[in-house]
């Protein structure tokens, strides 16, 4: 009896180790990044939320102040200017990028010549950093140096385009530069989406006598839904985070007329020694991102689950 068991010993001792490793190695490998994520993303989100409820000024402290910082925040003109600017910027930026992106993608999809070249040209602005974009457009839009000066020198002396230095219009100048930067990228997304559509459906529709606009409205654009979803998620998060473009293009000016919440957060937190207010602004920005993303995520997940059931 005792002779039969020993040969089986070593392999069975080895097998559980390997099996254990197979099972746990991926998890062990993920632990460091998981811990890092937990501490540096969720940990600091938690800390920021806590700081927004303290009296922190020059340095962080832990004296609880309830919602006092938020009360003050809501009384500040600078904050509301920042929020309204973000709303104007966000809506126009997302809408214009989607519209221009889709339009260019449809045009490029007409099996035209030199499509590769054109695609590269449209995509190229994305390769520039936002700071470069900001500086270039700062020169282009400056009335004394750029577009206005150029058109006037051609003879149209009445031409005026002073958005960049006009406090009421400067935020729209930011939209122009931002859309220029990102529209090509959205075009590429849509183009990839268009290429993925099954042509037999389109042919079938055409045989049934559907006009071209009808084909686009009823078949092509609805089937681009996932592309719209990814493009909107990307653009909305880019819009809420926007900071460097504004700094490079207008420096937040004239005055604070092109401030956005990210600039508010940075200036109050780091320049003005009001960390509590800065943290309150950061918390609200995060809440805004969550609010913008949540319904879309839920809708998309629901769709996917329903799709699997079918």
């Amino acid at each position: 009896m005792s002779d039969t068991t020993p040969p089986a010993g070593p392999p069975t001792r080895g097998m559980p180790v390997r099996r254990w490793l197979d099972r746990w190695l991926p998890k062990i490998a993920l632990v460091p990044s998981g811990v890092a994520l937990l501490v540096f993303v969720y940990g600091f989100i938690g800390w920021t939320i806590w700081l927004s409820m303290t009296t922190s000024s020059l340095l962080p402290n832990n004296t609880f102040a309830g919602l006092r910082q938020y009360e003050v925040l809501f009384q500040l003109d600078v904050w509301w200017v920042s929020v309204i600017n973000l709303a104007i910027f966000g809506v126009l930026y997302v809408a214009l990028c989607l519209a221009i992106g889709l339009f260019l993608a449809i045009l490029l999809d007409q099996k035209i010549r030199a499509e590769g070249w054109l695609r590269t040209i449209y995509l190229y602005p994305l390769a520039l950093s936002l700071v470069v974009t900001g500086v270039v457009w700062k020169w282009l839009l400056n009335p004394g140096l750029g577009l206005e000066h150029f058109v006037q020198s051609l003879g149209w002396t009445g031409f005026s385009f002073d958005w960049l230095v006009n406090p009421d219009m400067a935020i729209y100048a930011v939209v122009i530069a931002a859309v220029w930067q990102a529209a090509g990228f959205v075009t590429a997304l849509f183009l990839a989406g268009l290429r993925g559509i099954d042509t037999s459906i389109i042919k079938a529709a055409q045989i049934d006598g559907a006009s071209l606009p009808r084909v686009y409205l009823s078949i092509i654009i609805p089937s681009l839904r996932p592309v719209f979803f990814s493009a909107i998620i990307l653009l909305v998060s880019l819009a809420i985070k926007s900071f460097d473009l504004v700094i490079a293009l207008t420096g937040g000016g004239p005055g604070y007329s092109t401030w956005v919440p990210a600039i508010f957060m940075y200036d109050f937190g780091f320049n003005r020694g009001q960390i509590g207010l800065g943290a309150a602004a950061a918390t609200l920005m995060m809440a805004a991102v969550a609010l913008a993303m949540l319904p879309m995520l839920i809708a998309e997940l629901k769709e996917r689950r329903d799709g699997r059931k079918n």
Binding site: G144, D162, V165, P167, G255, G273
Partner: protein, 430 residues
Amino acid sequence: MGNRGLWHHTACLGVAVAALSIGSVASAAPDKGTVSVLNWWTSGSEAKSMNVLSDMLADQGYKMVNDAVSGGGGSNARTVLKSRIQSNNMPGAAQIKGPEIQQWCQAGMAMNIDEVAKQQDWSKILPGPVAKGMQCDGHFVAVPFNLHRINWVWINKSALKKAGATMPSDWNSFVAALDKLKAAGITPIAGGGDTWQVATEFDAIALATGGADFYRNAFVDLKPDALSSDTMVKALSRLRTLQKYEDANDQGLSWNHNTGAVVKGEAGMQIMGDWAKGEITNAGATPGDQVACMAMPGEHSGFVYNADSFEMFKKSNSDKAAQYAFARTALSPEFQRKFNMAKGSIPVREGVSLDGFDACAQKAQSDFEAAEKNNALVPSFSQDMAETGAVKGALFDVIAKFYNNKNMSAEAAAKQMASQAKQAKLMSSM
């Protein structure tokens, strides 16, 4: 080939070893202590001046580590300071000025340097308001480096001549000169909308309009009745007047670009602190000669100052000697002369010869002495000398709003100044 390469390497190694041994000999000498100095002086002349200080300390056997952080007019350096304090790795000395000195001191971080102050008799050699600014609870915790004058107007003499105007002497002749410049097709004032530059202009206007007592009541003590007073309304109206002579297209241009425009004669004047002299000299002109300097005209004369300073932080005892040496050397007449000549400011202590300083520095010095006598020496609110960042930010917001909204009345702006400053003060002292 191979052999030569090998020889080459060996030779290099030999040189490196020799350099290392020399290095270790050289660094063996300063063993009396080390002071790390956090600052944002990274531009040419300023960085060079810090090296002068470092050499002077090395001669005494102390090592100075120059932790210069560039960018953001000091805001990057302040962020580094905060994170270094959070991680318990505070510098020996950090460039901090104005009421922020007291803030760090209240947080229990500052080191008492009364011993050095007594040795050099700081209470006597420093101007009263400056000495007071370096103290906290009656103890010296910071050392001043210089005095910049803010309320200067820089005027291109040939542009003025071309426009047929004369050097202004009061507010009305000032505006008349601006009118003539405008008529001659020259941008009268290079300014143009950047909030910090507008606030710097307003700093000069406020003192010239209301005088030192008004300035102190409003910007140092934040008295609501001074902030919303008729004098403030008058000063704001004058800012609105000057705005008409500025080119709105200059929005977003930096102050040194604007100084350059004055030197080239594209613009007639600039209202700016005396660091503009560096740009004037770089452009090949002499301050006081091609570009004249004049105190901002108005009903009152005085001196709006910015004193750059370094606060000492509590460290272990072994570093104390080096920190003391840093403070002592910074206020030595030799360093004060070298440093301020390079920086464009004037020495902050008395008893330093101004031989070889330019005409504008000489004039700043004599105006400073007169202002000190008449109690007309005031700390600049636009350069963080009078208020903490929170309050300064609130004042800047109102000035920016007023400047960029032509429909806003001076009365409304003055009222908002009073209420927003109070709010910010409350928040920062919570």
